[in-house]
């Protein structure tokens, strides 16, 4: 006679009937349904292609000046015209994009690394570590970031830092000033996660703390990290461009979208040669909008509950 199925086996039988879909697949499906987010992703991919592949097809080089052909309006040979040294604007804009995108991404990566680590430590160890880290977070939160960034940018100029190394300092500064909000998010997530049963299981297994944090707690915070990092890149690009516009971020000869707009400080260029400074501005606008759309789509896709605003 056939044994009646016990409770566990019954549940297993039922589970087979449900089509099992991984959370990532569900998230992907939700994201793909969001039209604005998909448009944003498409634009961003195109922008990356333009900046990283585009320059390979350009007949010009970055430092190639052509004084007789300076200040040309957009034409057939120079699609976006040339600047005061006769350099091709289109090529400079694409190479500037490489810099601006890279600075934005690396700065955010630094902010995420600091924020996630400190947030996890504060949430996991609580007590003294938590108090200390959250006090530091309070300080950074009330620190007026723009004046600080501007001052640090001026220091970099005064120390005569080599323009090619300056970019790394810039990434570091923007990153170090941007970790607080993510640290708070991760901390609050970890505070709730650490009370759940699976953490008791890791306790019973006798796992070491860093394994508990990195293998069991942190993977559960990945959705908020992804969303926060995406939106962070948009913010970092804006910050970098503003600083570079003021002449305190990425400095010539390295092009960045922000320092190309700096040409607008020259009244003649500003008035008569808008092709020099308008295209990079639109690049910033388009890229940042695209990233914000993606970030919002990811937020909805990964965790609808997270949408507080």
């Amino acid at each position: 006679m056939e044994q009646p199925l016990n409770r566990t086996e019954q549940l297993q039988e039922q589970l087979k009937l449900v089509k099992v879909e991984s959370p990532w697949k569900i998230a992907f499906r939700r994201f793909a349904r969001n039209k604005l987010a998909v448009i944003g992703l498409t634009i961003l991919v195109l922008m990356f292609l333009l900046c990283f592949i585009g320059p390979l097809f350009s007949p010009y080089t970055l430092m190639q000046t052509n004084i007789p052909g300076k200040n040309q309006a957009p034409n057939a040979t120079h699609w976006l015209g040339t600047d005061k040294l006769g350099r091709d604007i289109l090529l400079r804009m694409m190479l500037a994009g490489r810099i601006s995108l890279t600075v934005g991404i690396v700065a955010t990566a630094i902010a995420v690394a600091i924020g996630v680590t400190l947030g996890a430590v504060a949430g996991f160890y609580r007590k003294f570590a938590d108090t200390l880290i959250m006090r530091i977070a309070d300080i950074f939160l009330a620190l007026p970031s723009l004046p600080i960034l501007i001052t640090l940018g001026a220091i970099l100029s005064d120390l005569k830092v080599n323009p090619s190394q300056r970019i790394y300092f810039l990434m570091l500064i923007i990153g170090v000033l941007g970790w607080v909000s993510l640290a708070r998010l991760v901390r609050s997530q970890i505070l709730t996660l650490r009370e759940q049963e699976f953490m008791q299981a890791t306790e019973a297994l006798g796992l070491r703390d860093n394994r508990k944090i990195f293998r069991h707690l942190m993977p559960n915070t990945i959705p908020i990290i992804i969303v926060s990092a995406t939106l962070g890149v948009a913010g970092a690009i804006i910050t970098e461009s503003a600083l570079s516009f003021l002449g305190l971020g990425v400095v010539p000869p390295t092009p960045s979208w922000g320092n190309m707009i700096n040409a607008a400080n020259n009244l003649v260029d500003f008035r008569k040669r808008p092709w020099i400074w308008i295209p990079p501005g639109f690049c910033i606008l388009i890229t940042v909008t695209a990233i914000n759309l993606i970030g919002d789509g990811l937020r909805d896709a990964l965790d609808p509950k997270m949408k507080t605003r």
Partner: protein, 320 residues
């Protein structure tokens, strides 16, 4: 309530100490000082040393820090090198220029955001709502300096609809109404740009707030009673959707008095933000440090006000 406020004020102290240390350390990293920044060709080494002694720049950094903090506690932020007057006076002279444009643009963006947000929530998924959503994203992604430059180039220079920059027409010696009218004209463009920049995230806030409210049971009840849709939205839902936003009022504080640094620079508006940027080029430490601390205090007080208003908006939240 008063206990809560006192406790929060006490908590501010370590935060402020931390901020002051960071700000001071950064200022010490700056190579060169005011004396070298003026680049006076007649300056002898002796005279320079004398001046450094007068301004206290020759003392060891730790001592300079304590002197700075002690003076700050008595409300003395030091003497601005560049303006030859107390920093507090520089701030109080220019902060109102910043306040004028910040206040008008905040007012405008709150009004616009409240109405647009509520309507777009009421007609969720309509073409109006979709347009608003897209515009909100654009507004939130605008680089302030670029949009300011575009506005000046096309609206002020080419179409001559607005003055190019500054706060008054050069050489205008009018008083009374003529003066106010002139300033108002100069304000139009900066205020418009500031409003566009801040209206996006606020609209989003109001839209989500309204969406939450109109899903509540009491709204269904109101509809079931047979009230007109207009009454349901404006008498029952609208007020409750606005309520959570009053916590944001506190966070406006640094925006109102802190100056829009980059935009003031672009529009050559003589606000505190522009003065700050100028002080940087002259290495006017007392002003740079004083202003940064001023902003930090504003932020902290703003956060406190926001928390207090949180309790006012929702009495269920007990402030402890």
């Amino acid at each position: 309530m008063s206990q809560f406020i006192i406790r929060r004020l006490l908590q501010m102290i370590p935060t402020l100490i931390g901020i002051s240390i960071i700000v001071f350390i950064i200022s010490q990293l700056v190579p060169g000082d005011y004396i070298t920044a003026t680049q006076n060709p007649n300056m002898t080494a002796e005279r320079a040393d004398q001046l450094r002694a007068i301004y206290g720049l020759d003392k060891p950094p730790v001592q300079q820090y304590f002197v700075w903090v002690k003076n700050m506690l008595t409300g003395n932020l030091g003497e601005s090198f560049q303006h030859k007057m107390p920093v507090t006076e520089v701030i109080s002279t220019y902060v109102w220029n910043s306040f004028v444009i910040a206040f008008v643009s905040s007012l405008l963006s709150w009004i616009i955001a409240a109405f647009v947000g509520v309507f777009s929530a009421q007609y969720q998924y309509s073409w109006f709502d979709k347009m608003v959503t897209l515009l909100v994203f654009l507004c939130m992604s605008l680089p302030s300096f670029f949009i300011g430059l575009l506005a000046i180039k096309y609206l002020a220079l080419d179409l001559k609809l607005f003055p190019i920059g500054g706060m008054t027409t050069a050489g205008l010696n009018a008083g009374g109404w003529a003066y106010i009218k002139d300033v108002a004209q100069h304000m139009l463009l900066p205020v418009t740009v500031l409003t566009v920049l801040s209206v996006g995230s606020l609209t989003r806030y109001f839209r989500t707030g309204m969406l939450e409210v109109i899903r509540q049971d009491y709204i269904r009840t109101a509809r079931a009673k047979g009230l007109k849709e207009h009454t349901v939205i404006f008498k029952h839902a609208f007020r409750n959707a606005l309520l959570p936003a009053i916590t944001l009022l506190g966070l406006e504080l640094p925006t109102l008095f802190g100056g829009a640094m980059i935009l003031e620079q672009v529009f050559t508006w003589p606000g505190i933000g522009q003065i700050y940027l100028a002080s940087l080029n002259m290495r006017d430490y007392p002003l740079m440090l004083g202003f940064t601390m001023f902003l930090a205090v504003l932020t902290l007080i703003g956060n406190l006000i926001s928390d207090i208003l949180y309790g006012v908006a929702d009495p269920r939240i007990r402030l402890k």
